[in-house]
Symmetry: C2
Subunit: 407 residues, 2 copies
Amino acid sequence: MTAATPTSVRELALASRAAGAQIAVLSTNTKRSILQAMADALTAQADAILAANARDIAAAQAKDIGAAMLDRLRLDQSRLAGIVQAVRDIAALPDPVGQVTRRETRPNGLVVERVRIPAALCFYAGNAILLRGGSEAIESNRAIAGALRCALGEHGMPEAAITLIEDLRRETVLELLQLSDLIDLAIPRGGVGLIRFVAEHARVPVIKHYQGVCHLYVDASADIVSALRLVLDGKTTRPAACNALETLLVHRDIAATFLPRAAVALREGGVELRGCERSRALVPDMAVANEDDYAAEYLDLILAVRVVDDLDAAIAHIRQYGSDHTEVIATRDEGAAQKFIGALRSAVVLVNASSRFSDGGELGLGAEIGISTTRLHAYGPMGAESLTIERYVVRGDGQTRHGACAI
Amino acid sequence: MTAATPTSVRELALASRAAGAQIAVLSTNTKRSILQAMADALTAQADAILAANARDIAAAQAKDIGAAMLDRLRLDQSRLAGIVQAVRDIAALPDPVGQVTRRETRPNGLVVERVRIPAALCFYAGNAILLRGGSEAIESNRAIAGALRCALGEHGMPEAAITLIEDLRRETVLELLQLSDLIDLAIPRGGVGLIRFVAEHARVPVIKHYQGVCHLYVDASADIVSALRLVLDGKTTRPAACNALETLLVHRDIAATFLPRAAVALREGGVELRGCERSRALVPDMAVANEDDYAAEYLDLILAVRVVDDLDAAIAHIRQYGSDHTEVIATRDEGAAQKFIGALRSAVVLVNASSRFSDGGELGLGAEIGISTTRLHAYGPMGAESLTIERYVVRGDGQTRHGACAI
């Protein structure tokens, strides 16, 4: 043991696994009580958590880390209240563990059940978690994890069920990613660089949460006012979120009516527009969009704009530049909506609703652990249920596969 | 291009991905017709396939590859008929693609659907597949893939939807495993060495199919005749299968009645027994089992035997030595069955039924692509549905996340 690693990552993971075995078999009511206690602890320790966050913010500002990152880092009373509410929302969900998702009687009388059991991290899904945050949030993370562990301890649960890894060295992350005997799943949350690093080095399964290059396509048949609301809500309400809009595609037949109004409203919201030739013909003082703009996840008050010939051209654009995260169509034509849904493989496709609903809480999953862009295990927003797995329970009365056993 | 790689792996994967896009949107009826045509092609080309397999078998025998491996390699009329039937069974299943698995209306009126879309390989799940078999089966694989591609071609489908990689060099596998932009999932099927190699080197997600160290626990309350049938069926009907029994655990209160009878029946079936002290006290001429025996996947007519004090001891044994694949309890005590199910995380747990039912076809999935021992995405037997993924389709009437947009 060195000073830098008072406890080795392997020891932490071992303790976490042991805690997981306890968490896995808790009753729904016990888990709900503990979640409520966690929400209470976060509320009771709000001042300490916000003070810790203020120290992180001050340190980040001194390092000039950029507005989007700063926005992601910042906690205030209202955001903390949102976290607390999300914890309570999870406690109100049906318990995913133990759910029988399918039951079938086979011709030979076997009763086959598929039953959900814990698969990966997350308390309500009955799993222990190892958390490793960025250095910029270390104070906030310590305060929040402390509050949650508090609630666990008060209920006689092992605090190791929620472990914050405070040794932030890259070697430690590498070591963690090798522990395939102890860790079921890694979910890297952060920039593309981090996710690539984890995917490159992990020997444990990884669910990636890559960028959200989210599109709004305004169809020829769209309701203009509704589409204006969707573009404003999608771009301006939290530009640093992965479900914020990055590109606006407009059918040429509606562009002359829609685009000038949209440009006024967006600019009032502080949004910089970068458009194609045809967009600029309608909104002359718009900057020029290039290929990089169409592929960009700005996470900022910038929006790429393109006028397209038709729905097919919009779909082709999204296939070429999109990241399969979230796409929106504004239309009054059900056929166009169906075609848009069928032609795209994106994790979340919305018809006449804001891209900002691409979120676990908004879609009814309680809080979310991330939005998977890996087309495996879970795709799109992941709640507690996404962190369970189905196994088979089969009941018979002595059935054998080979009929004639000579007994 | 070299002679050894007439087409690069990347080119094959590109063609496969393009074919996958076509397969993904086929109607259920078209997929069913093509599956029936595949079954027909396998039947029509049966002689050629069996002749190719006979050449593989002859080459394998010359290399002395072992009885279990030889058994896995061998095709005959009856096994080929089983494959053909499995293909027809898949065609009779509900189409997993497009299924709406959940529909919910949120308080704000958004209608949230979870819809299955293709995720990974396998024709009925709407995916293209790249197959890379072992050198020992190259002739059989060529004949079978040829028949299947035939059926695709006849229906105007791209044959690249089923691609057999004939370049068997390890570098080629390595290259394949790096193509994370083109390949959604790798499923290594084979020995532990192969699976470790793939898990170690893959940059694409991997679903592992590790060994099946399957247990039968005969409880004190078990029906003796039923338990005898289960052990014989589990051990002798296909010992090379991953769902064959490897260890028999017997409650001490029933051991004196059960074990001697089981030993006679198993030995008549050609099974060698290796037991603990207490087993050997009841069946004196039994060989001694050591730690390695309890952890072994024999894939052969050998069975480890242990007398245990009670259900808890059986569970502890399985937790220590098992591989989380398949476990069976023979009991007439519902409480014991519930405890056995709850205490084990194995992918398939059976009560009073043979371990040999741990199989996609037997559990009603149609044929299976493998039995996942990865506690992620799918766990246990994987059918076509396991190779799809759910995404979100959300319908609204203009809902925005932030209520008050000033339009």
